[in-house]
Amino acid sequence: MADVLIADDSEFMRNLLREILEEDHEIVGEVENGVEAVEVFKEQQPDLVMMDIVMPIRDGIEATDEIKSDNPGAHVIMCTSVGQEEKMKEAVKAGADGYITKPFQKPSVMEAIQDVVPS
């Protein structure tokens, strides 16, 4: 079981992710933008961040960059509707460990988590 922080500006998507994850993992926080994601990461030190890319105030790639710069061992999976190659490369550069494109189903989410945070 991993401690997971969900960062997504969509309440609908946060609910969906929580429903998918809470049976097997502990949800330690839900935030709506990149600034909050960095703050809550520092407080909670979760095992994994499920990070959206397009968010207000600060996007998910910038937040990932800061989290990984300060905590190279942190695990971040980008969980986004963006399927652009250039954006994926930016995510890799920022230190993202995985990438799931929306819409997704539970098996693909669990598989991505298993790849990044083996139980």
Partner: protein, 404 residues
């Protein structure tokens, strides 16, 4: 073959003036006041021509024309409009079927002469047209088959929508020029090489747009658990002031994002209200809290708009090997034109005409229709098309496994 924006604008204006001339003739004969709502040039897949006519019964008057420009043109009324016009022309019980038909045929003849004459005058040449042919058919069948003699899957269509003041009359004027005839003219009238777009790239872009619509439809289908089909995709060109008329006056719910990169612009995902409720409820894991459009519905629509937007623009970005950024989706819930008005005004600060990318999708298993409308910055779209490598057009999907 290239087409420049100025020529597209001029030709669109010619079609608009022709439609006004035709409408004026009809108004003069019937005494009913009318106005041309919108005229636009669209580059469409030939199988999509006339899709907006739905399955209603139409009466049409068609003509072939040849000379400086060649092709076919059709004036199409729905059945109730035909009856109203016939009543105005041949009042009372005098209008038997043959008389009704003859009156419509003649009015079509007069109107379409006005439509064609403007083109001939502008081109300083003659355009001859055939006698009118009267047709009664369902939906797009009222239109002629796409002009023969071309193996192309895309054709240019000029379409004017005319509405009557205080009357429930609506009719359409379609002009389907032969591809080579029109593109030859566009090439001859191209004023500035610098803003010319190769037509092949415009066609490729239209195909990419169809692919993006299909991806957005698949995303929606996966979330709602139904099969959704991309129905129509077209690129149109119209004066900026006509852009808000692309959508009706009914109320829509959806999302707007502003995208940056090449090109920049706006992208809207719109549902009519009943469709929005049906789709949102298909996405919700639990029953909604209340009746009508609740916060739960709008939250679902907001996220759906986000995912559909990405599905739509990612293909462009991957083919162009660029990043297209977009803002988080902003929920909109208003009359269609009120949603688009401020966006068109913003674009209108820098351009007189707009390319409008319009896609629609629907499914039989869930009562809904959705429309995706993209309004790119015209100059940047031209630049993007210049940079488009046609042989990369099928590389719309990025390989996550390869990158991670």
């Amino acid at each position: 073959m290239k087409v420049d924006v100025q020529s597209l604008g001029t030709f669109n204006e010619l079609a608009h003036e022709g439609a006004q001339e035709a409408t004026g003739s009809l108004a003069q004969m019937t005494g009913m006041e009318a106005e041309v709502e919108v005229t636009k040039i669209s580059l469409v897949d030939r199988t999509d021509v006339g899709e907006e006519l739905g399955s209603d019964q139409f009466v049409g008057v068609s003509f072939d024309f040849e000379g400086a420009l060649a092709g076919e043109t059709v004036l199409a009324f729905d059945e109730p409009s035909k009856e109203t016009i016939t009543e105005a022309l041949v009042p009372g019980d005098e209008a038997d079927e043959a008389m009704a038909r003859s009156s419509v045929e003649e009015i079509g003849n007069i109107m379409m002469s006005g439509f064609i004459d403007g083109w001939a005058d502008y081109l300083g040449a003659t355009i001859d047209h055939s006698p009118p042919t009267y047709i009664e058919r369902e939906g797009a069948d009222v239109l002629p088959a796409a002009p023969a003699g071309s193996e192309r899957d895309h054709i240019f269509v000029f379409r004017s929508q005319v509405e009557w003041v205080d009357e429930t009359i609506c009719f359409y004027i379609y002009m389907l020029p032969e591809y080579d005839s029109l593109t030859g003219l566009l090439g001859e009238h191209a004023d500035a090489e610098s803003d010319a777009i190769p037509i092949e790239k415009l066609e490729t872009f239209n195909r990419m747009t169809r692919s993006g619509t299909q991806t957005a439809a698949e995303n929606l289908g996966m979330m709602a658990g139904v099969d959704v089909e991309a129905e129509v995709t077209r690129i149109s060109f119209a004066p900026i002031e006509d852009v808000p008329k692309q959508v009706g006056t009914e109320t829509y719910v959806g999302t707007v994002v502003e995208f940056t990169g090449l090109p920049s612009g706006f992208l809207l995902v719109l549902f009519d209200e009943p469709s929005a409720i049906n789709v949102a409820e298909a996405l919700m894991p639990v029953d909604p809290d209340g009746e009508g459009l609740t916060d739960q519905h709008t939250a679902a629509i907001e996220e759906l708009g986000n995912i559909m937007t990405s599905g739509f623009v990612d293909g462009w970005a991957n083919v162009l090997q660029q990043s297209v950024e977009h803002t988080p989706p902003r929920l909109v819930h208003d009359m269609g034109r009120a949603i688009i008005d401020p966006l068109a005004a913003q674009l209108g600060q820098h351009q007189r005409h707009a390319f409008i990318i319009d896609s629609r999708m629907q499914t039989e298993s869930l009562a809904f229709e959705s429309e995706i409308l993209a309004l790119p910055n015209e100059a940047e779209l031209r630049q993007a098309l210049q940079e488009l490598q046609v042989d990369r057009a099928d590389q719309t999907e990025a390989d996550v496994e390869q990158i991670f």
